[in-house]
């Protein structure tokens, strides 16, 4: 049984196709572990393995998949970590999930998350916090914390997450796994319960880089249901690079210098990974993203502004919670939303509504959109000289539950190194670079739009050389 759990998803799929492994045995092994989940990683689990139905011959061969709660899955609870959607079972399935089912994936369960994907610790879930399998007194990161913890702990072979400002990469870093945010538009957003539409992007959380490439390959594609989705140029290749010869890595002074507040243990692991990259033949040089220090401010205007509009749909009329007020329909709206949303969601709706309100729009939202232009220009200039920009994924390792909840601003600083790429819409991957005091550290590589195959290749070469051992978290 434990042998099955130690297989990567790609290796398991290969064995199934070769007739050496029964997909039901694999599914049952994970289902049993997920049922005994002591991390609160899942909010819903399937009853039993689905019938084989010819999946065996398909690329994903029936390998089970954990799906972040905010992906609509037909007739299965899809609550986005919120009380306002408690018990909601959508009448349709998100395109990315349908694509993966068509490729042969099976649904294992839905994973816990920060409410509406707003958070960096998974402590904002209405269904309780998720625990980090490396140290259960600590957070798994967020907002895809359940997906990251489930994969790290071997409760699922791989998982789907979403990233708006770092919500795939940061929990992947804190849990010692691989997380990839694709280029904006690579994956359809149809059926993802929206947070910030110009930033939200689905992506894989996996045990290694090869699994991330395999899952992403079957996620991407233009979708008539999402006008911002694009036809991905080319295929996602299986990564195979043996070295980094000729690869130029840029280390942005503005993110990795003193201003970023990178912990010493994280910095040491980052420097060691850079040394490994050099040994593999890469060149490593300091570079500049002059507007990157302002990315966090721009992000915390744009994302709340978009969320305040997107979350207007939760009004107690068509689905979800209704709380009748004392008077008319207006008091029903206020009472429903006041009772259904948690504190962080309320904060962001308020921040966004304020930033969009009459007299403040230009100073806040308009300015943030201009900063966004500058940030994209900074990356474009950097990519003329460098293949990839590299940073620590998170300035910190996993922190203790409750240690940052009292100060929302301190929590937001967690996203310092991940939001610039989100604002620029470019792909970025986090891979484990090692441990600091027994806790995983994430190494982030970002590339130009649609460079996923090259990015995965570079991450693969680095991953093979680093040789991170993730087995401890699965015990």
């Amino acid at each position: 049984m434990s042998d099955l759990i130690d297989l990567t998803a790609a290796a398991a799929a290969e064995r199934i196709r070769a007739g050496e492994l029964d997909p039901t045995d694999l599914y049952d092994a994970y289902l049993e572990r997920a049922r005994n989940d002591g991390l609160n990683a899942f909010t819903w689990l399937a009853d039993a393995a689905p019938a084989a139905d010819g999946r065996r011959e398909r690329p994903l061969a029936g390998v089970p998949l954990a799906v972040k709660d905010l992906f609509c899955t037909q007739d299965v609870p899809s609550q986005s970590g919120s009380k306002i959607l408690e018990g909601y079972r959508p009448p349709y399935t998100a395109t990315v999930v349908s694509n993966l089912f068509a490729a042969g994936a099976t649904l294992l369960g839905k994973t816990n998350q920060d409410e509406f994907a707003m958070g960096s610790s998974n402590e904002n879930s209405a269904y309780g916090p998720v625990l980090n399998p490396w140290d259960r007194a600590r957070v798994p990161g967020g907002s895809s914390g359940g997906s990251a913890a489930a994969v790290a702990a071997g409760l699922a072979p791989w998982a789907l997450g979403t990233d708006t400002g770092g919500s795939i990469r940061q929990p992947a870093a804190l849990c010692g796994i691989v997380g990839l945010k694709p280029t904006y538009g690579a994956c359809s957003r149809y059926g993802m319960i929206a947070f910030a539409s110009s930033l939200d992007q689905a992506g894989p959380l996996t045990r290694d880089v090869s699994d991330a490439a395999l899952l992403l390959r079957h996620m991407i594609g233009q979708d008539p249901h999402d006008s911002t989705s694009v036809a991905f140029p080319g295929e996602i290749a299986t990564p195979s690079a043996a070295d980094l010869r000729g690869i130029r890595l840029g280390v942005p002074e503005e993110l990795v210098g003193d201003e970023g507040g990178v912990e010493p243990g994280v910095r040491a692991s980052f420097e060691a990974a850079l040394a490994t990259a050099r040994e593999l033949g890469a060149s490593v040089e300091t570079c500049h993203l002059p507007h990157a220090p302002h990315a966090l401010s721009a992000y915390y205007l744009i994302a709340p502004a978009e969320c305040s509009a997107n979350l207007a749909r939760f009004d107690g009329v068509r689905y979800g919670l209704r709380v009748n007020g004392e008077r008319d329909i207006g008091s029903m709206y206020g009472a429903t939303r006041g009772s259904g949303f948690g504190p962080e969601v309320k904060r962001r709706i308020m921040l966004g509504t304020y930033a969009l309100s009459s007299g403040y729009y230009d100073a806040y939202y308009g300015t943030a959109q201009k900063v966004r232009t500058r940030i994209s220009e900074d990356f474009n200039a950097a990519f003329e000289r460098f293949d990839f920009i590299v940073t620590p994924t998170s300035p910190w390792t996993a922190f203790e539950l409750g240690s940052k909840t009292a100060d929302p601003l301190a929590m937001y600083l967690n996203d310092f190194c991940t939001v610039p790429m989100s604002l620029a819409g470019i792909p970025a991957i986090s891979i484990p670079s090692g441990l600091s005091d027994g806790l995983p550290v994430g190494f982030q590589l970002a590339g130009p739009a649609f460079s996923e195959s090259r990015l995965l290749d570079a991450a693969y070469a680095l991953e093979q050389a680093i040789g991170f051992d993730s087995s401890e978290a699965r015990r």
């Binding site: 909601y88 009448p91 008319d328 329909i329 949303f341 201009k370 929302p408 601003l409 620029a424």
Partner: protein, 96 residues
């Protein structure tokens, strides 16, 4: 920076009923976040175009052909108050 009345005004715009405790906490928390965010006002952004969509694509068009949509009974299946094929709501009350 933000006072209770301003917070109350924004909460009304957002259709969000907040308790007295929440109003007070929101005023101090939002002020702190806004203080940090306002630093972007110091940048010279004269002549910089805003970015609302990060990938440069034209709005795709499809043929204008009718397709089926969600059946009414499915759309209503999870409504808190389905009424005669529609969504029931409390009285709209007096015009504001």
């Amino acid at each position: 920076m933000l006072d209770r009345d301003q917070v109350l005004h924004v909460a009304r715009l957002a259709r969000l009923e907040l308790t007295e405790d929440e109003l007070a906490r929101m005023a101090s928390e939002l002020s702190k976040v806004l203080d940090h965010i306002e630093k972007i006002g110091e940048l010279d952004l004269t002549g910089v175009p805003p970015t609302s969509h990060v990938i440069d694509i034209a709005a795709p068009l499809r043929a204008d052909e009718p397709t089926t949509s969600l059946p009414a009974e499915v759309a209503l299946a999870q409504a808190p108050e389905p009424v005669a094929g529609g969504f029931g709501v409390p009285s709209p009350g007096a015009a504001e």
